[in-house]
C-alpha cells in the first residue's frame, strides 16, 4: 500500500484544513518540528482513522474527548481522509463527538503507533503490567474471556459435586435414623427405604381426609354455637334494659299525675310544626290570635317542665330498638347454626352407632319446630359429642403421622437415588472443567511464549545492529509460569546472563531495547499494509547510535507499507540534511509555528545539495547564498572524509573545525591515492562493474583549496575583498563543490560511501560508489 495524501480538518491542532502530500517514491516520511507544532496531531489522525484508539491523547491521565476536535469546532466538521493506492478512507466524528465513524470500515491500513510512553511502560513497569503494553500486538483478550468463563464453569461444577454429596449424606442419614427407629427391619436401611417408598398409601390418605372433614365441620359448628351463645346473652341483656327503662317512665308518671306521655308527644309535635312555619298569627288549636314566638315560648316552657319524663321516654325507645336488633341477630345465628348442624350430621352419621344417644336426639329434631326449638333440643346433647370428636382427631393424627413418615422416607429415598445418579455426571464434569482449564491456560501461555520467542531473533539482530561489540543482548521475553500475565524481560550484560536489563543498562540502552522490541513486534504482525509511526521515540542519542538507528530503520523500511517518523530532535533531521543518512529514501516535512488562526503549517524540507543546485540554476542569482551553501556542503563532505580516513587535526574541545583546517588535513599521501569509482547497473538494477567510471579526488580538492576563500569573503562576511570576487568565480566555487559532493553521494539513497564490507574500499549502501583507499597509506 502506498500513501498519497492525508487530509485533516478540525482535528486537534488542525484548525485549518491540512493536507499532507506523501512522496509516493519514498516509504519513510519524517515530520520534523519543535514541540507544539502539530506532529502528534498528524500521527494521531492516522491512529484515529485506522484503529479504535486515540493515539497520544490516551497518554494523558484524564482524557477530555472534547479536545479530539479543534477548539470551538463542531463534531460534524471533523474529518480525517487518507488517500492510498488501495482506496480512500475517511473518519468522521459522531454527533456526540466521542466516536469516529469509518468509511469504509474494511481494508483500512494497520497502524502501529509507537510512542515514548509505551517504551517506558514496557521497560519500567512491573512484570504484571508490562504485558499490558504489548496488548496492541499480542491481544488474546477474547481467549482470556473464555478462560475466565471456564474458571466459572470449574467453580460451578465443583460446587455441584459438593451440593450433591451433601444432599446424599443428609437424605441417607435421615433414612438410617428412621430405619433404626423402626427397629432396623430388612438388611439395610436402603432396602427398607425402597420397600417403604413403594407402598400404596392412598387408602390412608382418603380415610384421613374423611376424618378431617368431620373434624373441620365440628369446629365450624362449634364456632356457630359460640355465636349463638353470645347472641343469646346480648338478647337477654337487651330485654332486661328495656324493662328497666319502662319502669322509670312509670315511676315518673306516679310522682306527677299530670304528666302524660300522649300530651308530651303532642307538645313535641306542635313545637316541630310551628318551628317549621315562616310566620303564624293564631294558635293552630284554639285559633286565638297569638304570635309564633310566643306560642313556641309557651310550648318550650311546658316541655321543659317535662324534661325528665321526656328523657325516660327517649331511653325506652332506644332500648326497645336494641332488643329488636338483638333478637334478629340471634335468629340469624341460630339459623346459621342449624344449617351447619345439618352439614355436620351428614358427615358424622357414618361414624356414629345407630343407638348413639346423640344421634337419636338429633334425629328427634323435625322440621316442624322453630329453629330456636331445634337449637335448644340439640345444644343440650352436643357436649356428649366432644369425646367422639376427640377420638376421631386422635385417629386422624395417627394416620397423618404415618402418611408423613411415608412421604419423608419416599422423598429422601428418591433424593438419595437421583443424586447418586447425578453424582457420577457431576464428578465427570468437574474433572473435565479442571482438565480443560489446565489445557487452555497452558496452551495460551505457551502460545504467547512462542510468539515472544519468535521475535527474539529480530530483537537480538536489531539490538546488535544498534549496539555492536558492546557485549549486550541475549534479549528474552517470556511469561512467568504460575503467574497470570506476568511478562519477564531478561538480557545479557557482559559475562552475566539472563539479568534484568533495567538494573544494568543505561537509560538510552533501555530506550533502544524498547524500540527494538516494538519494531520486531510490528514487523511480525505486519501484513503488508502496516503503517509504522515512530512518534518522538528518539530523545537524545549520540551520533554513532543515531546513525545505527537510522540504518536499522532504512533496513527494515521495506517490511512496512510506510514509516512515519515524527521528531523534534534536530540532529536526526540534520543527518539527512547533510547526506550522512540515506536522504533519497526519506520525504521531509518541516512544521512551522502553530497558531489557532493558521493551524498547522508545513513546508517540504530540502537537503543542502538540492538547495545549492537550485541556487545555481535560479534565474535570480544570489551569490551570497551560493557561497554560503557551497561552504557548508564542502565542510560536511570534508568532515566525512577526515573521519573516514582518521585525518590528523589539532585536538579541540569542541570539534568545530573550520573549512581551511578540513581542507588541509587530507595528507598528500592520501590525496595521491584518493579516488572514487561510479558503477553501472545491470539489467536487474544491481550495481556491478559495468561502465565503471573512475574519478581522482586530488584535482578537485586542489581547485577547491584555491576557491575556498570565497565562502568567507562572499558567503559569510562583509568585506571589500568579497566585492572583488566575480560572479564567475562564485559560480565555479558552487559548481565544484556540487561536483565534489556528487562524486561521493549515492544517486539512489543520497548517502556517503560509509560501509566497509569488502575490506578493500568504502562503498555506499547500494554499492553505487566505491571510495579508495580503505585506509591512509603508511
Amino acid at each position: 500500500m502506498k500513501l498519497s495524501k492525508l487530509k485533516i480538518q478540525k482535528f486537534r491542532g488542525a484548525s485549518q484544513p491540512l493536507v499532507v502530500e506523501f512522496d509516493s517514491t519514498k516509504n519513510i516520511t519524517m515530520l520534523f518540528g519543535e514541540n507544539g507544532m502539530g506532529k502528534s496531531t498528524i500521527a494521531d489522525s492516522l491512529v484515529c482513522l485506522c484503529t479504535d484508539k486515540l493515539g497520544s491523547i490516551s497518554d494523558k491521565s484524564s482524557i477530555d474527548k472534547d479536545f479530539i476536535r479543534t477548539l470551538n469546532a463542531k463534531p460534524a466538521e471533523v474529518l480525517i481522509k487518507l488517500v492510498t493506492d488501495k482506496g480512500t478512507f475517511e473518519a468522521k466524528l459522531n454527533n456526540a463527538g466521542t466516536v469516529f465513524t469509518k468509511n469504509p470500515t474494511e481494508g483500512l491500513p494497520a497502524v502501529r503507533h509507537l510512542r515514548r510512553s509505551q517504551i517506558i511502560s514496557l521497560i519500567d513497569s512491573e512484570p504484571s503490567k508490562r504485558y499490558e503494553s504489548l496488548k496492541d500486538y499480542i491481544d488474546v483478550a477474547n481467549i482470556i474471556k473464555g478462560e475466565d468463563e471456564l474458571r466459572k464453569a470449574v467453580r460451578s461444577t465443583t460446587a455441584d459435586v459438593e451440593t450433591i454429596r451433601k444432599a446424599i449424606v443428609n437424605a441417607e442419614l435421615t433414612l438410617k435414623n428412621s430405619w433404626e427407629a423402626e427397629g432396623s427391619p430388612n438388611e439395610t436401611f436402603h432396602e427398607w427405604a425402597k420397600i417403604e417408598a413403594s407402598k400404596d398409601i392412598s387408602q390412608q390418605q382418603s380415610i384421613h381426609k374423611a376424618y378431617n372433614d368431620v373434624i373441620n365441620s365440628w369446629r365450624e359448628l362449634e364456632s356457630k354455637r359460640v355465636e349463638v351463645v353470645k347472641g343469646n346473652r346480648a338478647y337477654s341483656a337487651s330485654i332486661a334494659e328495656t324493662e328497666v327503662a319502662l319502669k322509670k317512665i312509670t315511676e315518673i308518671e306516679t310522682q306527677n299525675s299530670l304528666l302524660d306521655g300522649t300530651l308530651l308527644n303532642l307538645l313535641v309535635e306542635a313545637q316541630t310544626f310551628i318551628s317549621a312555619k315562616e310566620s303564624i298569627d293564631t294558635c293552630p288549636i284554639c285559633e286565638r290570635p297569638e304570635s309564633k314566638d310566643k306560642l313556641l315560648s309557651q310550648i318550650s316552657t311546658r316541655v321543659e317542665t317535662m324534661k325528665e319524663f321526656k328523657a325516660a321516654h327517649d331511653n325506652y325507645k332506644i332500648k326497645k330498638q336494641t332488643k329488636e336488633q338483638c333478637e334478629s341477630t340471634l335468629k340469624t345465628f341460630i339459623k346459621s347454626f342449624i344449617e351447619q348442624l345439618e352439614v355436620f350430621i351428614l358427615k358424622l352419621t357414618p361414624y356414629l352407632k345407630p343407638t348413639d344417644a346423640t344421634l337419636l336426639s338429633i334425629n328427634e329434631i323435625n322440621d316442624g319446630i322453630s329453629n330456636n326449638d331445634k337449637y335448644k333440643a340439640v345444644n343440650k346433647n352436643l357436649s356428649q359429642l366432644v369425646s367422639s370428636i376427640k377420638e376421631l382427631e386422635d385417629q386422624a393424627g395417627k394416620i397423618l403421622k404415618s402418611i408423613n413418615q411415608h412421604n419423608l422416607i419416599k422423598q429422601h429415598y428418591n433424593t438419595s437415588v437421583t443424586n447418586r445418579q447425578k453424582a457420577a455426571k457431576a464428578k465427570y464434569l468437574a474433572a473435565a472443567a479442571e482438565k480443560a482449564l489446565q489445557v487452555v491456560e497452558g496452551t495460551r501461555k505457551q502460545f504467547i511464549d512462542d510468539e515472544l520467542a519468535s521475535i527474539s531473533k529480530d530483537v537480538e539482530a536489531f539490538y546488535q545492529n544498534m549496539h555492536p561489540d558492546e557485549q549486550l543482548g541475549g534479549i528474552k521475553l517470556f511469561l512467568k509460569s504460575g503467574v497470570k500475565n506476568s511478562l519477564e524481560l531478561n538480557a545479557d550484560f557482559y559475562s552475566s546472563t539472563s539479568v534484568t536489563p533495567q538494573s544494568l543498562y543505561s537509560e538510552s540502552h533501555l530506550d533502544t531495547l524498547g524500540i527494538c522490541i516494538f519494531m520486531a513486534l510490528a514487523k511480525k504482525y505486519n501484513n503488508g499494509n502496516t503503517i509504522l509511526i515512530l512518534d518522538d521515540v528518539v530523545m537524545s542519542v549520540d551520533e554513532n547510535h543515531l546513525d545505527r538507528f537510522i540504518n536499522l530503520l532504512h533496513t527494515e523500511a521495506n517490511n512496512f507499507a510506510h514509516i512515519l517518523v515524527t521528531t523534534h530532535y534536530r540532529p536526526w533531521k540534520d543527518r539527512y540534511r547533510y547526506n550522512r543518512a540515506p536522504t533519497a529514501q526519506v520525504h521531509f516535512i518541516e512544521l512551522r509555528n502553530w497558531k489557532l488562526e493558521t493551524g498547522i503549517r508545513l513546508q517540504n524540507s530540502k537537503i543542502d545539495i538540492q538547495e545549492l543546485r537550485n541556487a545555481l540554476d535560479d534565474s535570480y542569482y544570489d551569490r551570497q547564498r551560493i557561497s554560503n551553501l557551497a561552504g557548508t556542503i564542502l565542510e560536511n563532505t570534508l568532515d566525512f572524509l577526515s573521519v573516514k580516513f582518521q585525518c590528523r587535526l589539532a585536538r579541540k574541545v569542541r570539534q568545530d573545525y573550520v573549512l581551511k583546517e578540513l581542507l588541509d588535513c587530507i595528507s598528500s599521501k592520501l590525496l595521491k591515492v584518493l579516488k572514487v569509482q561510479h558503477l553501472g547497473k545491470d539489467s536487474a538494477g544491481v550495481y556491478q562493474i559495468i561502465d565503471t567510471k573512475e574519478f581522482e579526488i586530488k584535482p578537485i580538492i586542489e581547485t577547491l583549496k584555491q576557491l575556498s576563500a570565497i565562502r568567507n569573503q562572499v558567503g559569510a562576511h562583509y568585506n571589500f575583498d568579497g566585492s572583488l570576487v566575480s560572479d564567475t568565480d562564485v559560480s565555479e566555487f558552487g559548481e565544484k563543490v556540487y561536483e565534489f559532493a556528487k562524486l561521493l553521494i549515492c544517486p539512489d539513497t543520497g548517502s556517503f560511501p560509509d560501509r566497509n564490507k569488502s575490506g578493500s574500499y568504502h562503498e555506499t549502501r547500494t554499492g553505487s560508489i566505491r571510495l579508495y583507499p580503505l585506509v591512509e597509506p603508511a
Binding site: 477474547n142 480443560a436 496452551t443
Partner: protein
C-alpha cells in the same frame, strides 16, 4: 492481519480434543465462540456434558 485470537483458539481446541475433553464434532463451533470472546461458562459445561454423554452406552446397544 492474522487474527491472533483465532489462531490461539484453534490450538486450544485441538489440545482439548486431543485430551478428549471435548468431542471433535463440537470443536468448530466452540472455537468460533472462543475466538470472538463469546464463549460462556454454560457453553463450556454443555460441551463437557456432550463428551460425557458420548461416553455412555447407547440405548439400543444397552438392550
Amino acid at each position: 492481519m492474522e487474527d491472533i485470537n483465532k489462531k490461539l483458539s484453534q490450538k486450544i481446541l485441538t489440545a482439548l480434543v486431543d485430551e478428549k475433553v471435548i468431542v471433535s464434532e463440537k470443536s468448530s463451533a466452540l472455537q468460533n465462540k472462543l475466538s470472538e470472546g463469546k464463549l460462556k461458562d454454560t457453553d463450556w459445561i454443555a460441551a463437557f456434558t456432550e463428551t460425557y454423554n458420548s461416553t455412555l452406552p447407547k440405548e439400543n446397544e444397552a438392550k
